[in-house]
Symmetry: C4
């Protein structure tokens, strides 16, 4: 799958896109093509309660091309023909950060308000996939943190749980977190308009250069990764930890502990 | 799909219906035909715990025709041939509000007691689809409200949760609720006979002209929308909020909060 | 589907059964044939957590014939060829209540210890289907009752919940329970051997002639009905009420309440 | 299915394996072949929340051959071609316990760190299948035990619950546990590297010769059995008991009780 028109200026590409709407960009027999994967992933996420009632979504980047679910669709019913496609190069040349030029726009839909947030993961972190969930566990974690009051409400921390190993050590680093490492996920405040989250998401990325996720208070979470595999498995591990954290809170168990590493015959 | 006999008087239509039972009204290869959609939706709702043990149901209106699930069927096993069809125009001409003339009645079933409640959403609010669930989250919310005592037990309120944006602003209004808006869902008391809920449901619609849902104490919820998409996604968003509200209550978190809107570069 | 050899003595039928193992009794293209229905139902029950780890099961009676799942099988993987078949008439003529003559016994399995409990529902109540679940909600309800101490620990009671209408009024009675009626389910103590529950289950049926279910402390529940439809939907409604009851207990809400019936325009 | 090269020295077998990678070892039309069963089981376990985010896994032994899932794959998407195969005989002849010679290694993967733990169940207990889950119920049980402080935090005990009958009485013993028996599952502390758990898992097997499972603090559980059926149903029963135990704790109900056995007409 080669990105179309790689050496033409973005404006020309956009002009052509308008003419034929580039339907070929979302037509493939390959189940791993982004236009097939996004609907398959979103159907799975629906069963997990991540994208209830048209909330949440997912986006995949393949080199210069970004594939996006439209706004307001039932995520378990999405089809490849519903997918928007955007060129990062064309987007970079746009003078107005808020306007976007789509190589392909399905006539019956509106672009998702999540688009600039997905783009932040792609452009600032080189992510290949970004997932946004409205998981109740994510929301409940931000609500529990909120009761701690300003100062300690902006970060979810957990350590000494095996599932933490499901996360990479960070941007341009190799390897994964260890069992005793602390997973830190920044929390940003929700805004009235989802697009307005972008500046705060980007700030959080700057403050937490190694994070693969940002929680949004009373809203959900954005999780990304180098590729679909990593974004999806990190999102699963994180949702697992959020659910565990809520249950731990109900049982009076702290999220952070000091544990002496076990002495092994190798240590 | 055109409504049958649009220009004949209702009585004549009913007479013809009795003769051939209008099986063609529920026979279509189109998966979006109401007679196919209702069984597909109910099977999905069964997996969500919304229509357990034959409880709950769904109805779709297509112009003058109303498609209804029968009483007492296993909702995940329903078939198009099980569907009742009724003409709103014929119904409007009936002198007795409690009697109903069906264009199609499956011989082996009885009409659902929910019928007049679904009709209220169609005639008073122009809804295209109405869903009734026995979701435990809906029931638990009404039970929690009940403990607050008379006066404050008749309304579920929640604000400052992103999923609230899943609701339209109201009848004949455009746009959706915002993040900071308060979602208000009236609660009516349950009656011994489901049909008797109708007058109270209609009263609640009058008192809350913009609501898309009415909770029924110790029973469940009725949710509607302009079309199937909106009724279903609003029902999902509402069930999400009911579940979240129960979990928030367990964690000692209030449903209503005062939150200062975030200042963005646009505000 | 006619029962085989209706006019031959049971002993002769059993002798023939031994000869050819009556495989035709479990071979049918009809998805509603008991030998097809039991595996389909058990697969569904597995997803509900009712028959985890080979626990629980289901049996269907068709006139004189009783179809039974074998002992110790993975309930979601069962096949029609795994099903035992037994003649009630032959069984009635047996001098030893504990011995059973099967018309068909799959060679590789052992009969289920639940068999005499299912038979009690068929012979004492004329049930057409009996379901046994290990649902955690059922077990938790019996544990919560146990803490009330002897005297009030032998009956689960709940009223004023719509889902109660999912139950028939009782043996040889017509109609269903009403919203304000109290659903009463007897609880019997668990025994070391499941077969030994039979006498206590039968006693409970005598003390509660109208019940369609018996809870077994720290074990699960037996639910039956006139036919598969009624047994299955009553079992679903009951599991719904058990789950609701546990959640109500967590939230400090009582299972029994006094509620003034709503005055309607009909009352 | 015969193990390949049964009478050749392990080194020779390994040399041949390197040459052709023994793809035939994972190619079969039989759905019960380990290379087909492991992906099918893992897909099922994913829906149960046991192998979220690439965590957990399963291994099957067929005589001398051990089939293993690779490291870091999405468990619900695994394919037969992803499976590693190892010879126990060849492994036994290896001088270095930490090195492993695979008859088949999929080029694109790394072996799972769980391998030596699975091997412990196969070599020390003659197991035919071993399952490792990250089930949150298992993790929460270890966290609840941890709060009891050293001395009583190393064993999960529960009695007088019917589902306990789902476990065999122990290694080289016949029959299953009874209702009144106490199920005891040892808990070992988690190590920074999963392989380092092996020595502690083996120690726990020595201290609890009859156990079919070992809990790992803040991590999950290893469960095995003579064959796939027993490993899987014991794992289900155990997860059921862990979930029940967490709910019992929330409701203030003890895991261990003294109950007078019921007197039956047989006792």
């Amino acid at each position: 799958m080669t990105p179309p028109y790689p050496d033409r200026p973005a404006a020309a590409a956009a002009a052509i896109a308008v003419a034929d709407n580039n339907d070929h960009l979302v037509q493939s027999d390959n189940p791993d093509h982004p236009a097939n994967l996004i609907p398959a992933l979103c159907a799975k996420f629906w069963t997990l309660g991540w994208v209830t009632g048209t909330g949440g979504g997912a986006s995949i980047r393949d080199d210069d091309l970004v594939y996006l679910a439209p706004s307001g669709v039932q995520k378990e019913l999405m089809k490849p023909a519903d997918i928007y496609v955007l060129s990062l190069a064309a987007q970079a040349k746009s003078l107005d950060r808020r306007s976007r030029v789509y190589l392909r726009s399905p006539a019956q839909y509106k672009p998702s308000q999540c688009t600039p947030l997905f783009l932040a993961a792609f452009t600032k972190r080189g992510a290949g996939c970004c997932i946004h969930t409205h998981s109740q566990w994510a929301v409940l974690v931000t609500l529990l943190l909120e009761t701690r009051g300003s100062g300690s409400d902006g970060e979810f921390c957990i350590n000494n749980i095996e599932q933490i190993k499901g996360f990479g050590r960070g941007f341009q680093k190799t390897g994964n977190l260890g069992y005793h490492d602390t997973l830190r996920i920044p929390v940003i405040e929700n805004t009235a308009h989802e697009e307005d989250l972008t500046e705060f998401l980007e700030e959080a990325m700057d403050r937490y250069p190694d994070t693969y996720a940002v929680l949004v208070r009373r809203h959900g979470v954005y999780v990304w990764g180098e590729n679909v595999h990593k974004a999806k498995t990190q999102c699963e591990s994180l949702d697992y930890l959020f659910q565990l954290a809520v249950e731990m809170h109900k049982l009076g168990l702290p999220w952070m502990t000091e544990i002496e590493p076990v002495k092994t015959s190798r240590s």
